[in-house]
Symmetry: C2
Subunit: 321 residues, 2 copies
């Protein structure tokens, strides 16, 4: 059964709040649930007023709910150290020192952050997920991460051709030379081919989980920019065969009372009218159902307020993974 749920959307739309509210609904429905946050601002710790780290921990006072926070920066560091160690095995110390600078630079490339984070999320799906019925992520793959999902195909062909060439040259080598099987052994254990196969298998696993055992929701706010970005995200996910199950409009401005008529009330009414237009546009132009509208709150969402948001979220937990 599908059991992973991802809440995507641009920074600031309220993904963490919505994912926390959804995870709470799952736990309240009797599902053992893990919420995985990737927000470097530790907003999940804020929501539950409890500090989380890289290990799943029970959320106090919320039966059936655990949380973990992944620090993307720490993941990038670890990722780079892995690469360095791998290289040290294969080249001399002098080269390693030269290469360190390159790694430093690669660390700063825009893709490094996403790649390291995706690696960690795949590890959650493989390891931590085993102890739970549901795993809720406050992020969804975008841009470069989605492109990684096409890697297995691409990488598979490439590795096959690489091995084929390798075999041919080994055949020639054996025919030409000394009757030892030393070279063939080396090919079977070739660390580079081994790593490529490993990556191929890893992204194949991720693609399968994302396509067959996961649901995606996108969180947006009722403004032009957020609607346009959501439209692009739905298309982009679709191009990678990932279906978006629903849209959640968050931070909807509340209407004033009917008898309010001052400057503030006029401002709010105009603002609400604009937001209704954006929401209508969303429903007309994005082919994904709008599953919830959540009111804007002036205070932080935590404690009882999270329960209120969970009530407004109203995604049928039983029907969706």
């Amino acid at each position: 059964m599908a059991r992973f749920t991802f809440f995507g959307g641009k920074g600031g739309v309220g993904k963490t709040t919505v994912s926390a509210a959804y995870a709470l609904r799952c736990a309240d429905a009797g599902e053992e649930t893990l919420i995985v946050s990737t927000d470097p601002a530790h907003s999940t710790s804020d929501v539950f007023e409890q500090s989380f780290d890289d290990d799943p921990t029970s959320v106090e006072g919320r039966d059936g709910l655990s949380a973990m926070e992944i620090d993307p920066e720490a993941e990038v560091e670890a990722h780079m150290m892995d690469i360095r160690r791998e290289m040290e095995k294969q080249v001399s110390q002098v080269v390693v020192n030269e290469i360190d600078k390159q790694i430093e630079m690669a660390h700063e490339t825009p893709g490094a952050y996403e790649a390291a984070l995706f690696d960690r999320l795949i590890r959650v799906m493989r390891e931590e997920a085993d102890d739970y019925d549901r795993v809720v992520f406050d992020t969804a793959p975008t841009g470069n991460t989605l492109r990684l999902l096409s890697l297995p195909e691409f990488l598979g062909d490439w590795v096959d051709r690489l091995i084929e060439k390798r075999e041919k040259s080994l055949d020639l080598y054996e025919k030409a030379a000394i009757g030892t099987d030393e070279p063939r052994k080396t090919a079977a254990n070739d660390p580079i081919i081994h790593r490529l196969r490993e990556r191929e298998e890893k992204f194949e696993f991720a693609g399968r989980i994302l396509r067959e055992e996961s649901s995606f929701y996108l969180v947006l706010n009722p403004d032009d920019l957020s609607v346009a970005e959501t439209r692009r995200a739905v298309e982009h996910l679709g191009e990678h065969d990932l279906d978006v199950r629903g849209l959640v409009v968050n931070k909807v401005t509340p209407e004033p009372d009917d008898d309010e008529n001052g400057r503030g009330a006029r401002y709010l009414r105009e603002r609400c009218a604009r937001e209704r237009e954006r929401i209508a546009e969303t429903e007309e132009t994005i082919p994904v159902p709008l599953v919830a509208r959540i009111a804007s709150r002036t205070g932080e969402v935590k404690g009882d307020v999270l329960g209120e948001v969970a009530d407004e979220l109203a995604i049928d937990v039983a029907a969706t993974p």
Copy 2:
């Protein structure tokens, strides 16, 4: 005299509105002004209710003001075509076809967009800028673009070493061989060294203009995320010796009238209180003066409303470039 002004900030904070209002102030103060927009949503065309393209065009009804809109996507295309043409000169057609796929992929890398856009902005500073007293950009360099400013140093050393090695091998070649000066001629015209020198010179020019003839302002909204991002942007610009002259807080929620007391008024008062906290935090923790607070508007900013925003902006045009 300094004459370039950049308005930076994350998508959605209102950079285009603020830059348009500032450009209007410059033009009204008697400076021949060009506003350069890089927003793919053509918001500058919306603000002035007139369609702009890649060529500077006078804004109707606004004396001394011209506008142009750069399409970053088109710039990436052109950039990639340039690279392709350059490569075709140097390798066989078979290799070009193989390489086309690589270019296709490079096109999608996150850095390509920024690099192509920065190239075009440098061209504006070199060419279009000549006809104006002031040039206002609705964007400021971030991330990878800032890193390009360190390229001249890095590239300079590298090219010097490359040429030195080249000279040495040519010396050996000449000592060893036939008395022709053919190889030396080739080195002087080496297309790769030529292009590296060109890039070195280009980014050197950009660095000089940005450090000596430009002012930077950052636009933010009074919320946690925007304040945190602005703090990082100020630090990042500072690391590259670019001083931020001022912060503009945009989309400040208006207070209700004193005698309003309904649900709407209560919501607005709480919201305004939260925003005041964010603004106080900004002033306490970011070492850059807050030069303007602009009220949130429910309708689109254009026509007379732009004039109102320009009045609220109140940056002294004469004192700043």
